[in-house]
Amino acid sequence: MKKKDENISAMATPAVGEAGKTGDWRDMRPVHDPAKCIPCIKKKSACFLCWLYCPEGVIKATIPLEINLEYCKGCGICAEECPGKAIIMVNEEEKHG
């Protein structure tokens, strides 16, 4: 908290992860396959529907895709909406596939 306004008694400050590390909620983990990903194949920014549809905003629209697993809740929207099926959901218990 940088500056406190005297007129405000209860002020919340912006923070990433205000509910803690929400990645703990996850039981399915998104795994990205660059061989099927449209921007990775075309080598230019295109598509990025996963980034647009992520309610959490944890996907970074870069090549290759970056998913912040610290806050990803594992809802599976990115895997469902990916037109090339480049993201698959794997069980947290299993080894990285």
């Binding site: 919340a12 912006p14 929400t22 295109a46 990025f48 905003g57 944890v58 806050y71 929207i77 090339g84």
Partner: protein, 320 residues
């Protein structure tokens, strides 16, 4: 498979602000459609916005004191008065600007609320703010029940939905009425810009928010937000259900500019069978074919009403 990759030309980030105004790590459920809608709305609004938020899911999940997910100026107010606080903020900013106490730049006030805080509890506050013609946007995130407190029916719950206060059973089909047509009520308030949108059509939704921002006067957007918890569907179907609601005609997308109805281009030319929309949702699981027919009739009345208006409505300037 190959053709999808080659023919895919949609480039989402080109049209959309890359800055995140609604930070990750908030407390919304997995696959929350409302959180997505808020994130898209904040991207469309950009800086120079003040948000007032009625109590509801989006207030509870975004701000456990002392931190918040909002990177825009944001006020939490009580359940009924999001619109009236928005109206007050708008008036105060106008006066402060006139007196030279704040920098002279245009700041839009956006009031948001869930369907409970807008259709039922906050209804008179919205009615008042819209009728007085404040320069603000009201956006309602309609997830079709009071999801925050545990899925109680609201004025926005559709026919046949099983909720905790309208449970389905031997004698009951769940909720008995069709949802309130809020957009039409707002048109009756002579609001210059009214639109319906879903988060499943993000570019359409963001264009509508940007258009509402440019309106000098009140604007109202009704956004259908899928709630996987309350709709009893799996979290990854969130986007799909919003799209199906539009494709089956349950939630037509349209905008009303100065009384003239216009269909949005995302509406399908031919409607899909209603069962596609009802089947993935647990809250409609108990519906028999007869009851689905009643649902279809109710939905089609609303859909055809919009079609009629698109054909025949005239803008107010033409009616002089």
């Amino acid at each position: 498979m190959k053709s999808i990759v080659e023919n895919f030309d949609l480039f989402a980030p080109k049209l959309v602000d890359k800055e995140e105004y609604y930070s990750s790590g908030h407390r919304a459920c997995q696959g929350c459609g409302e959180a997505l809608a808020i994130r898209l709305m904040a991207k469309a609004l950009g800086k120079d916005t003040v948000v007032t938020n009625a109590t509801g899911c989006m207030e509870v999940t975004a701000t456990p004191y002392p931190t918040t997910a909002w990177k825009l100026p944001w006020v939490h107010v009580a359940f009924p008065n999001s619109a009236s606080v928005g109206a007050g903020v708008e008036s105060a900013l106008r006066v402060l600007r006139r007196k030279g106490k704040i920098a002279d730049r245009y700041i839009k006030v956006v009031s948001i609320g869930g369907d409970g805080g807008s259709f039922d509890i906050g209804f008179q506050a919205i009615s008042g703010a819209m009728e007085r013609g404040h320069d603000m946007i009201y956006i309602v995130y309609d997830n079709e029940a009071y999801m925050n407190t545990g899925i109680q029916r609201s004025g926005a719950t559709p026919f046949g939905a099983s909720t905790t206060t309208a449970p389905a059973g031997k004698e009951s089909v769940g909720n008995k009425n069709w949802k309130k047509n809020m957009a039409e009520i707002m048109v009756a308030h002579r609001v210059p810009y009214v639109a319906t949108a879903t988060h499943s059509h993000p570019i359409d939704f963001m264009n509508k928010v940007k258009k509402a921002r440019k309106v000098n006067g009140p604007a109202f957007i009704h956004c259908l937000a899928v709630c996987p918890t309350g709709w009893r569907s799996s979290s990854e179907t969130c986007i799909k259900l919003g799209r199906l609601a539009v494709e089956t005609g349950v939630f037509p997308l349209y905008e009303v500019e100065n009384g003239k109805y216009k269909f949005s281009p995302d509406n399908p030319p031919k409607l899909r069978p209603l069962e596609d929309y009802l089947k993935p949702q647990g809250r409609f699981r108990h519906l028999t074919p007869d009851q689905i027919n009643i649902f279809r009739d109710m939905a089609m009345i609303e859909y055809n009403k919009v079609l009629e208006r698109v054909k025949h409505s005239k803008s107010w300037s033409e009616l002089k």
